[in-house]
Symmetry: C2
Subunit: 204 residues, 2 copies
């Protein structure tokens, strides 16, 4: 990577942390200058505007976030075990940066105005959901999950309840809501799993 490219990447990474904490409107180029130690010209050499930098920063934060949600040693074993891991891993590592989940922050931030950021959040959501859906589909194909289960419904419920619980947990400064959701989720696993798989999963 050339020096110019390295600087560009460093600006994106620092900006991602600030945007994730303060949102698009709450973060200025001045903040990015302070975090990177660059002059205004040094930032604007790489990005034409705050908007352009924000798109790259949010794209970086969201891609890291999706990677963290969908990759890991726990994505092996039965479908039930993988779903259980997805939930546990989210609770153990709810965000890549300070400031909460980039997906929720971008969604709330962008919903009423910024179409480019909104599209990035939509894409990140789709990727995360697709991974969860394919776990459920494989589980059905292998007889680990009941054939009547709806992959999209399960994936949306996992994402929605984890994201909402993270919002509550951050607000209250405790992981209680996340753990509550995790326990209720065991009820759903017991319902969708075929008997053998649920028993094996619970015993791990």
């Amino acid at each position: 990577m050339q020096k110019g490219e390295q600087t560009r990447q460093r600006i994106i990474e620092e900006a991602a942390k600030i945007f994730n904490q303060r949102g698009f409107a709450g973060c200025s180029i001045q903040d990015v200058m302070e975090a990177t130690g660059l002059e205004k010209g040094g930032v604007y050499r790489h990005f034409a505007s705050k908007e352009e930098l924000a798109v790259e920063a949010f794209r970086y934060a969201l891609s890291l976030s999706v990677k963290m949600r969908t990759e890991g040693p726990g994505y092996a074993g039965s479908a039930i075990e993988q779903l259980r891991y997805a939930v546990r891993h989210f609770i153990e590592t709810p965000s890549v940066f300070p400031g909460g989940c980039p997906l929720m922050n971008t969604a709330v931030d962008a919903n009423d105005g910024n179409p480019a950021l909104r599209q990035l959040a939509c894409d990140a959501l789709k990727k995360w959901r697709a991974v969860l859906c394919s776990i459920v589909e494989d589980g059905i194909a292998h007889g680990e999950i009941r054939s009547g289960a709806n992959p999209r419904q399960i994936a949306n419920t996992i994402i929605a309840s984890l994201e909402g619980a993270l919002m509550i947990s951050r607000l209250e400064g405790t992981k209680r809501a996340l753990c509550d959701v995790q326990e209720m989720f065991e009820m759903i696993l017991a319902e969708i799993g075929t008997a053998r798989e649920v028993r094996l999963g619970s015993a791990e």
Copy 2:
């Protein structure tokens, strides 16, 4: 209500709509002036600062929101029916203003900086959860919900999954995620309800 008091209330109501859509940092006194048709002096006569106005605006939005979530003709009948109503009512009327749920917006907006707004969001969350908890507790007392059910766990799961699903639904411009969560919630109701109540509830 005196004229001055009426003007103050009108400023709060207009500001609440704008803050809910754009967040604290994304909304200026200029925006409030435009929405109310008042001069700067007309706004500052009632509020010493944007911060002071924001606190009143968020307080107003959150109290309306909690009222909408916790009152209504559906809060009658069995505990299972009431929980089902709480979920359905949220899906039918997800927010009092344009811009999504004031609770989530305030929580995400305030989490990394504004302690006064954060406290307002915390209080609103507690009130909403207390109402759901007391429905579950009454349900246990009346033999409609299993004695082993955990009221806080159920309440946190309802709030988390609805708030998260609303975030997804707004992002995607469809109610699908909300409906997915609603259907999965029926699984939880079937699990926590005593047999008689679940059967009655499903037949409504």
